[in-house]
């Protein structure tokens, strides 16, 4: 039953995608512009990428961003996985529903609120704003995404696999590392990639909690753009878009594959 696309369908599809991606496409195209003027096409060139890599300030910001993303995603992955285990495994403990709600809250909380509340907290505990505060803030922001992904996998996890391992002589901790962890690993990796990309492109929470010497790439780009557009920023943004896209695609593929595999094993 292949239904043909009508002209109406095609038009709405094209319009929709254009609406979503035309601005980004424009940015990507202009990052290869030979002209210095952002709005005038002067032929194809990759000179701005070269200039970008020679731009000390931008490269430094990129390095900070990368370190924060890696670190915060790692912490978020460990904490998020533990939360997912607690939520799926420990039955009906008192306050379970509340706990579930609280884990998911950062997902729907306006970023401004998250950023501001964290800033107030850091001021209250007298923590100097900088690299560590952004890392902590991003951990808070991204942990729930890891929990969601890992929890979805644990819901379909066959508990008799763990019972079998214990029955065969493996104590609980060894059971976890030899049976549970390998089987939920794809979802943990997917969760990590999601957390990583979220941290990579966050501007709001980061700018609330930043301090001297901890300028992330999104903050840097934002502040530079206010002084005037430069093709270098286009190039930096293009690379950022590429990284984020790659991360999301990988995360999707990995979690999809693990779902397929667990389904295949189910019968």
């Amino acid at each position: 039953m292949t239904r043909r696309l009508s002209i109406f369908n095609v038009t709405s599809l094209v319009m929709g995608f254009a609406f979503l991606y035309l601005p980004i496409l424009l940015l990507v195209v202009y990052s290869f512009n030979a002209s210095r003027l952002v709005t005038v096409w002067g032929g194809f060139s990759t000179q701005w990428y070269g200039a970008l890599f020679r731009n000390q300030a931008l490269m430094e910001a990129a390095w900070v961003t990368l370190r924060i993303a890696l670190l915060s995603a790692s912490i978020a992955t460990v904490l998020g996985t533990l939360a997912a285990l607690a939520l799926t495994r420990y039955g009906r403990f008192p306050g379970r529903t509340l706990f579930t709600g609280m884990v998911y809250a950062p997902m729907v909380m306006p970023e401004v609120v998250t950023g501001l509340s964290l800033l107030l907290f850091f001021v209250a505990v007298d923590l100097d704003r900088g690299f560590w505060t952004i890392t902590l803030a991003h951990t808070t922001l991204t942990m729930c995404f890891v929990t969601v992904v890992v929890q979805a996998r644990l819901m379909t996890f066959d508990r008799s696999l763990e019972e079998a391992a214990m029955d065969l002589g493996a104590p609980p901790l060894r059971t976890f590392f030899s049976v549970t962890l390998p089987l939920i690993a794809p979802s943990i990796v997917a969760g990590f990639l999601l957390a990583f990309t979220l941290s990579l492109d966050d501007l709001v929470v980061a700018s609330f909690n930043t301090g001297p010497g901890a300028t992330t790439l999104p903050i840097k780009i934002y502040s530079q753009v206010r002084l005037g557009l430069s093709p270098e920023i286009n190039a930096a943004s293009t690379i950022l878009i590429g990284l984020v896209t790659l991360g999301v695609i990988l995360a999707t593929l990995i979690s999809k594959r693990s779902v397929l595999r667990s389904r295949r094993n189910a019968h």
Partner: protein, 389 residues
């Protein structure tokens, strides 16, 4: 023809040399002593006492929710009794976690580790014991031969058929040579043909290894084929523990008679006893029924149920002679031809429907009994069991 005397008679297929349960000096391998398991308000196992002996092929049989799975999970260590005690070879199992029990289990879902090959799955338990590599690979090889899967050692569970997975699960559970092997609905996921073959294979393996097998099943045919003894469970209690033959031929209660195999139940009242035979007046028959069940202690006027298996009844068109006992009159309501058997459903004047099965011993029948025909159903005094109500 006089019925064989009770002392010399036996029921079912009996492994004569093996009957430790009949020996008062025999020490049981597994002992449940007054075990109760509650889940909140619900009672899964209710003050249950049971002995299982070494080398036995023991079946826990019952409808779903009767507590048989809970009983097995308590043996494996996944659940602990609320009250009472379980001992294994004289040692209490109280507080012993599953990974420290000399008991292994084959799971209903098989629970094969999907990220490990067949080989690695079988080796898992041996690796936990820290055996040397060479011994592990020897033992894995031995297990693969036992279940005839040598060629599939490197495959992953997702690349195996249902029957092959079942074998891997069995090999993995056997690899550690446990004192007791627990099997949870071991054949439930197989199709009928494969199930029958595997039943006999399991019996062979159990015999070869001399291991104690405890099987949980809801399939009475499976239990009858494989078990040395069957414990029939209902509502957390054991209703009868006996050999398959005894369960089938001398069921203790109406529940067992109806749960194991097909049965016709005729209600009635005891009239009296005469030269060892009971006379029971039943509304289903004109004349009092004559039943040879001397073990029952009954008194006159007592309400009883008479249980007769379908294959122990005879259906005929001709009126039996005046000397015949246990004659019921009815008309053919339905006929089911099964190939090996023909099943007649006979409607009595009281509206009861009897099930009579008849082995098809010859290929052609001159004038077969037809629908709506008036027929007579008879059975021998020894064919029936009296169940006190």
């Amino acid at each position: 023809m006089p019925p064989p005397s009770r002392q010399s008679a036996s029921v079912g297929a009996v492994r004569r040399a093996f009957a430790p349960w009949a020996d008062p000096d025999a020490k049981p391998l597994i002992r449940f002593e007054n075990v109760t398991k509650r889940f909140g308000e619900a009672v899964a196992v209710d003050h249950l006492t049971l002995d299982i002996f070494e080398g036995e092929f023991f079946c826990l049989l019952g409808p779903s929710g009767c507590g048989k799975t809970t009983l097995m999970r308590m043996l494996a260590g996944f659940e602990f009794p609320t009250e009472g005690m379980i001992t294994l070879a004289g040692q209490s199992l109280e507080g012993v976690p599953p990974y420290r029990r000399p008991v292994n289990m084959m799971f209903q879902s098989y629970a094969l580790f999907p990220h490990m090959s067949v080989e690695k799955n079988i080796a898992f338990g041996l690796r936990q014991d820290g055996l040397p590599k060479s011994e592990i690979s020897d033992r894995v090889g031995e297990m693969l031969r036992l279940v005839q899967l040598e060629k599939l050692a490197k495959r992953y569970p997702s690349q195996l058929s249902g029957g092959q997975r079942q074998r891997v699960a069995l090999a993995r559970a056997l690899a550690k040579r446990p004192k007791v092997l627990l099997l949870d609905e071991p054949l439930g996921a197989l199709d009928k043909k494969l199930r029958e073959e595997t039943q006999f294979e399991l019996m062979d393996i159990q015999h070869e290894l001399g291991m104690t097998f405890v099987v949980v099943t809801h399939d009475q045919e499976e239990a009858m084929t494989m078990a040395d003894r069957i414990a029939v469970m209902d509502h957390g209690r054991i209703v009868q523990v006996a050999t398959p033959g005894e369960i089938y031929e001398q069921p203790k209660t109406r529940f067992i008679a109806e749960f194991v195999g097909d049965v016709n139940i005729l209600e009635g009242h005891v009239q009296g006893q005469e030269s060892g035979l009971w006379h029971v007046k039943s509304p289903s028959a004109e004349m009092p029924l004559t039943i040879d069940d001397p073990d029952e202690v009954l008194h006159s006027g007592q309400a009883v149920a008479i249980a007769v298996r379908p294959e122990k009844m005879v259906v005929q068109r001709e009126k039996p002679g005046p000397e015949a006992v246990n004659v019921l009159t009815g008309e053919v309501w339905d006929i089911g031809y099964l190939g090996d058997w023909t099943v007649y459903r006979i409607r009595l004047a009281t509206g009861e429907i009897l099930r009579v099965s008849c082995a098809n011993i010859s290929r052609f029948v001159e004038s077969p009994i037809d629908w709506d025909e008036q027929v007579y159903v008879t059975f021998a005094p020894g064919a029936a069991v009296i169940l006190a109500e």
